[in-house]
């Protein structure tokens, strides 16, 4: 780890002032990803601004009947909050599918959005990586890319976003509240993370002087018909090969509204509105699920080791849609997939 200066932010405005005045500074909250990246010399901040004392650890109802989650609420508290368990079980399930209890106790809601890819070349400072060192090349293309993306890739980067929580937030159409020098703004979840394009060093559209203060959930939580299905190399404590978040609003066998988001397949939680639209107004049948999966994966492309992910994702989408339609969400304790 490099030498750095440690400071504490006294309030949100102070945090913004401190980050704006030092482009090489970083906020630290849970630390579970940043401190690891610092130990690997991938992150080398000049200064850490500790934001853990800011009053951003509340979960409140919003005026429109949704929920506002403070950016410092630990992942474990969020997953087990009574409102999340009752109204947004998709979010709770996704959180419990990720990391370990120790890490979930530490990791913050805002930090979960900002975690970096676990691409092994991003971590390995002896290899080229456009995300770590723009212009140096991508070692994963033509390298060991079993964990890598099949959708939305570019010639510069095929890394995936590692979060489970964010896949559920994408499906739920959450909004990200951020405060910077020019005040507060609300960012649609779909606009928060970026595709790699020719700037893979940028994971999100959060500005350099901004701090995430909260996540807002709309009133609809799809609590009756949902699932978070995570497929990985071992049953627990592993990143997704493919994960699927589904929320359905079903009336009399017909899907009124459909949300379908994928993790482990792209640089951001992957949604395809066309596939969702194909499901809406249609009966919840396997034939329609097959068409939706085909739509999602039409542009999918493998890079050798990860070719299997295309078929895995297709089957996972079918299984997850069936789980959600049946009202039998994937258990995160008993890992048998039914």
């Amino acid at each position: 780890m490099n030498n750095f200066e440690y400071t504490r932010a006294s309030d949100v405005a102070d945090a913004v002032r401190r980050i704006a005045s030092d482009p090489a500074a970083k906020f630290v909250a849970g630390g579970t990803n940043l401190i690891d990246l610092m130990k690997e010399n991938v992150a080398r901040p000049s200064r850490l601004i500790d934001i853990t004392h800011l009053p951003l650890d509340q979960i409140d109802e919003t005026q429109d009947g949704g929920l506002r989650i403070g950016a410092l609420v630990p992942n474990s508290d969020l997953a087990q909050h009574p409102q999340i368990e009752a109204r947004y079980p998709l979010l709770g399930s996704a959180i419990l599918a990720g990391a370990s209890p120790q890490l979930r106790n530490m990791a913050s809601t805002g930090g979960n959005l900002l975690q970096r890819t676990r691409c092994l070349y991003f971590y390995d400072t002896t290899t080229p990586c456009n995300k770590r060192e723009p212009g140096s090349g991508c070692s994963a293309i033509g390298g060991i890319n079993r964990m890598h993306a099949i959708l939305g890739t570019s010639e510069h980067c095929i890394a995936t976003h590692p979060s489970d929580m964010c896949v559920a937030l994408a499906a739920l159409e959450a909004r990200v509240l951020a405060t910077g020098r020019s005040g507060e703004r609300s960012i649609a979840f779909a606009e928060f993370h970026r595709l790699p394009g020719d700037t893979p060093q940028l994971d999100s559209n959060l500005r350099a002087d901004e701090i995430i203060t909260a996540i807002e959930l709309p009133p609809e939580g799809f609590a009756k018909n949902y699932t978070y299905l995570k497929i990985r190399d071992r049953l627990s404590y592993a990143f997704a090969l493919v994960s699927i978040a589904v929320g359905l609003d079903i009336e009399g066998g017909t899907i009124k509204e459909a949300r379908l988001a994928l993790g482990g397949v792209a640089h951001k939680p992957w949604r395809n509105r066309e596939a969702e639209a194909r499901l809406e107004g249609a009966p919840a049948t396997r034939e329609n699920f097959v068409r939706a999966a085909e739509t999602v994966l039409r542009e999918a492309r493998g890079f050798g080791h990860n070719d299997f992910k295309i078929e895995l994702a297709r089957r996972g989408i079918l299984r997850a849609l069936a789980q959600a339609a049946r009202g039998t969400p994937q258990s995160q304790a008993d890992k048998r997939i039914r």
Partner: protein, 182 residues
Amino acid sequence: MARPSSAARTGLEKIPTPAKVTVTLHVNGVERKLTIAPWTTLLDALRLYLDLTGTKKGCDHGQCGACTVLVDGRRINSCLTLAVMKDGAQVTTIEGLAQGNALHPLQQAFIEHDAFQCGYCTPGQICSAAGLIAEGRVQTADEIRELMSGNICRCGAYPNIVAAIEAVMFGKATDRSGATGR
């Protein structure tokens, strides 16, 4: 031979050596004051400066759980947090679980169920299990397995670790084999 300065070796000449920070930790009920570099992890503070070497450094990257301690009653990976960020916190390590000469029930159960071989992961396993019990979410052996998955045992003592935790939580082990019919 003169050694090059650390700045020359690491290319950090632009970053001055920051001042040390003073941190107060309440470790196993005892107030401990430390003056340390800000990049000292809680794990290193415990092991190097407080001589509490029961907490183990395994991977040092939050992947193995050997460094698990309880901070304000919650289990965390002490390798992934800075000591300075825990200023004022209550820290419980494996050394703080026994009451005098009486072992903590989990320590006793680990012995009785032969829940370790080399023992390196054991302090983290026991602290993690203490956190698990405090969380109060577990009802089945499957849930113990899932919620202990942040603690790796390379000797493979998992069936007996689960049995030891079950014995403390439910009075007896229901499933010594570790098999669930999968």
